[in-house]
Amino acid sequence: MNMPGLGAWFDYTVNGIVIGNIYAMLAVGLALIYGVANLVNFAHGSVYVVGAYVGWAAITYLGTPLPVTILCVVVVCGLVGVGIERLGLRPLHGSSRIAPLLATIGIALVLDQVVQLIFSPDPRAVPMQVPEWRIPIGGGTIGPLDLLIGGIGLASAAVLYGFLRFTKLGWAVRATAQDSDAAQQMGVDINKVNMAVFAIASALSGISGLLVGMYYNQINPAMSFEATLKGIVALIIGGLGNVPGAIGGSLILGLTESYGIALFGTSYRNLFAFVLLIAMLLWRPNGLFSGRSSLPPEPMTGTFIARSRPFRIPPWAVAGLIVAAALLPLLNNPYVLQIGVNSLLYGMLALSLTLVAGTVGQISLGHAALLAIGGYTSGLLAMDAGWPVAVTIPIAGIVTAGLGTLLVFPAFRLTGHYVSIATLGIGEIVSLVILNWSGLTHGAIGLGGIPPLEVFGYDLGSVEGTYWLCLVILVLLALLQLRLLSSHLGRSWRAIRDDSVAARSYGVSGNRYKALAFGFGGFGAGISGAITAHSYSYINHETFNATLSVLALTMVILGGLGNVMGAVLGATLLIALPEAFRGLAEYRILIYGLVLLLLIRFRPQGLMGTV
């Protein structure tokens, strides 16, 4: 490691502030929304993309000057914000707090897809509408856009701070944030307040999309996820709901990334960001700029579980379904069978997630990381250590159970939103470690030539073989999970989910039971990842990406949280239906987003009911 000189440190500091400046515009809006609605808005980055494209379209087609462009962006994004409040927040008032968070994920999928369908995924240049002089600072330069972005970030934070502190409406906003029922009783129209806040925050996000697009002279629909992610990390550093803190958090995030690059190199940049996120969640979940070191009280206990009576399937019907599934290869249609294999593999993942998210109530947004751990463990043992596949797959299950539990163990004391954000961060960390630890994982090149499925000399690489193997494993895992759920263990898990304090006072130690759930869930997901790796023969750090985690969560909610049969059904439906409607492929992710939204709104108990 070469230590940079003093002049270089100055440049790294300037660069950290420049990028922190950009994060700040996102984080301020997120903080405002959290401060009022207690909601981490996952659609924030999508509004940023909408703003960028609205600005681009206004300049390109209407030739608007900068003030008019900004006005267009403010109006459209403000309306989008109002829409998010109406669809994602207001109807869910009174349901659990995680429900609006999931709804914003659905809205984000829908918005991103709509932008992509209208404007195509091709990147576009945003004409610069700001003069292009540069001010030399240290070894580099900054331009008027840097100052404009910084100015808007600071000014909006200052105005918002003043508004929240010193105006009557601001008091209403804060009162709503503290206790919306009490505020309502005191005559505050909380819906109006929420709507105003969403409009302001979304307009701000849209402006940042436009200015950042100009800054880099490039916009594309895929930039939303990164924007949301970085905004959320900055938000957590600054403290959820703390508007001035969001600016500080953004600058710290920018500096951390810049110094991380200075010391270790560019490919470690995001790793630093996410490690910082997890560290903050563990040690200062209230952010750096807050006195309290404990978590703020969570008004909810439990999680996104709608009380419902699960739909009971009689045992003979289950047996009939298993027999029917076992007879599927007789149709002699390998294409259908391959879709069956995919459904079974996702079924294993969904079983795992329904246990963790449904039965124990830890909504995980990083579940795909378990597939990656399983796939890499089995692939590496078979390739580099030369072990037989029949041995490496169960080992992959065990390693994933252990490693997965160990990774989330520190997050066990978190609840609600914090769990989701922590698991999202852990998922990203797993993927980045796989990318950077090239000595073990072959880095970006990925694992090529993974040996095919073979058990004690029997070749299971054919689609029939893989299908039967997956079916047997899925049935065993499902039966085991059903057995566990009806035992003492299952009751303890549900007790922790429903009221962790009560469970603890009855002597049910939360952490140990959560660890058991993650262990069992990790085992199934690890096996699924391992079989995937052997049947694909090639995997890399992107094979199991964050989209998969969201897809798995949609499957589980569709089937009914905690419901074993529901998880399998949800996986089958979400894998098989898009294949059946190949012609609608373009709208596939849009449909996932809509399904997620509609379920949360109208059928939170899923198709089969929660358990």
């Binding site: 940079p4 270089a8 790294y12 660069n15 420049v18 990028i19 992509q116 195509s120 995924p121 091709d122 990147p123 240049a125 540069r134 030399p136 070894g139 580099g140 330069t141 950042v212 880099y216 002279n217 490039q218 895929a222 930039m223 996820f225 990164e226 990334e257 810049s258 690059i261 190199g265 560019t266 490919s267 940049r269 995001n270 149709l331 249609n333 390998p334 069978l337 391959q338 995919n342 990318l435 970006a444 090149i445 990925g446 090529g448 030539g449 095919p452 690489g461 054919s462 689609v463 049947s535 694909y536 023969s537 090639y538 995997i539 094979t543 894998i575 190949r582 492929a585 373009e586 596939r588």
Partner: protein
């Protein structure tokens, strides 16, 4: 499903009539190839470019050919979960005698075991991952080999432009890392130095701190291994940071989009391309003229590769036969005219093509131009 299958096998009149109605254009002397590629999703533009080039190629070769080629394009979104399902569909469709695609290595290589097992040639014409053709003897590719391009790039930087100390910024993916490693060894074998190599993640936009690292390694040239969109962003930031080194970039930055996204900053950037519409060679000019007449825009690298591929398919079926086995036997021997290579001829050991020709280009006044030698900009 089994019922329908049986009825087709026994050849009842009804089934035959239904098949004829469903595919009226599938004549007896036609052959079908399957294409697996992204028509939707984040890589959708590449699938669209393939289609344009396929259509043009077939319009040219089919009328005079004994066996007319048709293709069935299945949208995979370049997602491995979908390519495996498409692979099962293709290998079990007896009409399909060869498969083309998919776009990314992850997506193609996940399906390779299925094609290999079914003995159907998988022709990954954009798959430069060194392991792709190692998936089995049915995996073939005419994609540009980085093992050839990187030494040419090093030669351009060192011999033509006189650079001795090169700082490298590369995309941290299978393609980027493979290219970077080949570039570094090519530079070293020429006695020059790579001062630093920095890998960045897809979707990254801020390169200022990376560039400070590069600057402090004191290079006299900066080499960019990235696609055009990222390259444009990097080059803009190189110039706004006040760095004045010569910039040399790999052939994948060659696109009109580089100039659109990079603006004035990309003037003076050096790059290579296998395909340059301004090149006087007859095959190139014929292709460019025909493409412009049909689509009213200039073709790019992706169009040229896809066009070459479809011409090759027609050559294969009309020379070696219309079965899957005939295609596999024909590939080691075939010689097919090519926009990119002049002539496509496979090395049977690697199942790849060598001998791509590189044109040295430089961006001048907002347009790509052939590099005429002289002092670097």
């Amino acid at each position: 499903m089994s019922l329908r299958r049986r009825s087709i096998l026994t050849g009842t009149a009804g089934a035959l009539a239904a098949a004829a109605i469903a595919r009226p254009s599938f004549a007896a002397d036609s052959v079908m190839v399957g294409v697996s590629g992204p028509l939707t999703g984040p890589n959708a533009q590449y699938g669209a470019q393939w289609k344009d080039a396929f259509e043009l190629a077939l319009e040219e070769v089919n009328p005079s050919a004994a066996h007319k080629v048709q293709y069935q394009f299945e949208d995979s979104q370049a997602d491995p979960r979908q390519t495996v399902a498409i692979a099962q569909k293709f290998v079990n469709d007896s009409r399909i005698i060869m498969e083309l695609g998919d776009f990314s290595s992850t997506a193609s290589m996940a399906a390779s075991p299925i094609y290999q097992r079914a003995k159907l040639v998988q022709f990954g014409f954009t798959n430069s991952h060194p392991d792709f053709t190692k998936g089995g003897d049915y995996m073939w590719s005419n994609s540009i080999s980085q093992a050839e391009e990187q030494p040419s790039l090093a030669d351009y930087a060192i011999t033509d432009l006189g650079r001795r100390r090169l700082g490298v910024i590369h995309l941290n993916t299978d393609w980027g890392v493979t290219s970077k490693n080949l570039f570094v060894s090519a530079v070293q074998s020429k006695g020059a130095t790579v001062t630093l190599a920095e890998g960045f993640l897809p979707n990254e936009r801020d390169f200022r701190s990376t560039l400070v690292r590069i600057r402090d390694s004191n290079p006299d040239g900066i080499v960019i291994i990235a696609y055009y969109a990222d390259a444009a962003t990097i080059i803009r930031q190189i110039r706004t940071l006040g760095l004045t080194q010569t910039i040399i970039a790999v052939s994948s930055v060659y696109s009109p989009k580089l100039i659109e996204l990079g603006g004035d900053a990309v003037n003076g950037v050096h790059t290579l391309s296998n395909f340059f519409p301004g090149e006087p060679r007859a095959e190139v000019q014929r292709f460019v003229t025909a493409f412009q007449a049909k689509y009213a825009r200039e073709p790019d690298n992706f169009n040229a590769t896809a066009y070459d591929t479809m011409v090759l398919v027609s050559k294969l079926v009309n020379t070696y036969g219309t079965t899957r086995a005939a295609i596999r036997e024909g590939l080691p021997q075939v010689e097919s005219p090519s926009v990119i290579y002049g002539t496509i001829k496979f090395d049977p050991a690697t199942r790849r093509v060598s001998g791509a020709q590189y044109k040295k280009l430089v961006v001048k006044d907002g347009a790509f131009a052939m590099f005429q030698g002289g002092t670097p900009a």
